[in-house]
């Protein structure tokens, strides 16, 4: 699959179909999942209807981490095999992952207010997600502050891989730290026991987020490749 798509021309032909299909798939899953989650799934016996924030929050958390893992993989391929398409893919995924992380933080805060009685809790998960969000911002900022695209891609790839090593260490550190500072009675965001009736809409929306991530990343990649083509065409004109 990867070897096949490694050719930019073939990638453009493939993504011209794949992006809209993924997008449509995401819309369908949202159309099914949102009403399911909001109206047809049971309220939590403790949290009541506020548990429904979970259906927005948890998939955002999953795929903000998933997006980073994808970027780390693409960065590795870009660094080792110097493949342009891998660079483009890593860069294209970053804003999507960053937005997912932001959504996760915001919904987590909204969820925290009624359940924990506070808008922000320095618990292990939220703190790690905040570090992930800042890591995304650093990655995007580094990309955009280096003019030479190829150099920017390689440097950002190094940063992405360093971040991929750092993030699990941060997660471990923050967990260690929050057990030191917090009474165990505080409830964690995923602490609600998930019963079967909640799992259905959650997985549906998880799938919707994934397809949305795929569609947006492909569209970003297409935009980047188009921009590159325009630039090189103008460069040829200037030198002709």
């Amino acid at each position: 699959m990867f070897a096949f798509l490694a050719n930019p021309a073939r990638f453009m032909a493939f993504s011209a179909w794949a992006a809209p299909i993924l997008f449509a798939g995401a819309l369908i899953l949202f159309a099914v999942g949102v009403p399911w989650a909001l109206f047809y799934s049971p309220p939590d016996y403790q949290m009541g209807d506020t548990v429904r924030i979970m259906y927005v929050h948890v998939p955002a958390a999953w795929w903000s981490m998933g997006a980073y893992a994808f970027m780390a993989g693409a960065s590795f391929v870009g660094l080792v095999w110097r493949h342009v398409l891998a660079d483009v893919a890593a860069r294209a995924a970053a804003p999507v992952g960053a937005v997912f992380a932001a959504v996760c933080l915001i919904t987590g805060s909204l969820w925290g207010a009624p359940t924990w009685g506070t808008w922000w809790e320095w618990d292990g998960r939220m703190t790690s997600m905040l570090v992930l969000f800042i890591t995304y911002l650093g990655y995007i900022a580094l990309w955009s502050s280096i003019e030479d695209e190829e150099r920017a891609a390689r440097l950002a790839a190094i940063l992405c891989l360093v971040g991929a090593i750092n993030l699990p260490i941060v997660k471990f550190s923050v967990d260690w730290w929050s057990t030191l500072h917090q009474p165990a009675s505080i409830m964690r965001s995923g602490g609600a026991a998930i019963n079967g009736e909640m799992l259905g809409p959650l997985l549906t929306l998880g799938g919707a987020y994934l397809l949305l991530f795929g569609a947006l990343t492909l569209m970003n990649m297409r935009a980047a490749i188009f921009r590159r083509r325009v630039e090189s065409a103008e460069l040829r004109k200037a030198h002709a």
């Binding site: 030479d148 695209e149 190829e150 590159r228 090189s232 460069l235």
Partner: protein, 205 residues
């Protein structure tokens, strides 16, 4: 030439079908030439034509977009060459003497203070920081690296820049001695340096 050992007649540098680009801009394509012991190669070309990039690629600092650069006959590839760039590679607050000692450590050589003082006319400024040197003196100090650590291949980017006539004469002497010792000199220049080149390369698209 006490500071440098003679190089046997075995080094050669071969550039084959080399293509270089910066960003999306192609500098040149399909450039080939070879140089052997005793050769002096002059690289000519207009500004921005890729002279500097060619030298950087030969120094291993820049990855070519195509083709090959092969250095043959060097016992130890990491000791094959010197590159004197546009930027002199000097620290403003560090003295001339400290530079020589640093390079001796960095490249594995001897500071050769006396030789540098006499040959490159830096005796009076040996203890002074680089910021008080004239441009010509700074350039001569950069050239001192060639003497501090002997290397068979010299890649020189505009070596005569900022040098006065006396400085240029010293440079030509260094080049002649290096060739006599079996070394190779590749220089990117705006106008011919003086010594008659064994070949001239023109870079352009």
């Amino acid at each position: 030439m006490n500071a440098r050992g003679p190089f046997q007649d075995k080094q050669s540098i071969r550039v084959e079908a080399l293509s270089l680009s910066r960003g999306q801009r192609i500098l040149f394509e399909n450039l080939s030439f070879a140089a052997a012991s005793g050769d002096y190669v002059e690289v000519l070309g207009s500004n921005g034509s890729g002279k500097t990039s060619l030298l950087r690629a030969m120094a291993g600092l820049l990855r070519p977009s195509g083709g090959e650069i092969a250095i043959e006959g060097a016992d130890e590839p990491s000791l094959a060459l010197h590159y004197v760039a546009h930027a002199n590679g000097l620290k403003r607050e560090t003295s001339v003497r400290e530079h020589l000692h640093y390079w001796a450590g960095l490249f594995g050589g001897s500071p050769s203070e006396d030789f540098v003082a006499q040959m490159l006319d830096l005796a009076r400024v040996m203890a002074l920081p680089v910021r008080v040197l004239s441009q010509g003196q700074a350039r001569r100090l950069a050239l001192a690296r060639l003497v501090v650590a002997p290397r068979p291949i010299w890649l020189l980017d505009e070596p005569g820049a900022a040098l006065d006539d006396a400085g240029k004469a010293v440079l030509n002497e260094l080049i002649a001695a290096h060739r006599a010792n079996g070394g190779i000199v590749v220089a990117a220049v705006h106008e011919p340096l003086g010594p008659s080149p064994s070949q001239t390369i023109r870079v352009s698209r």
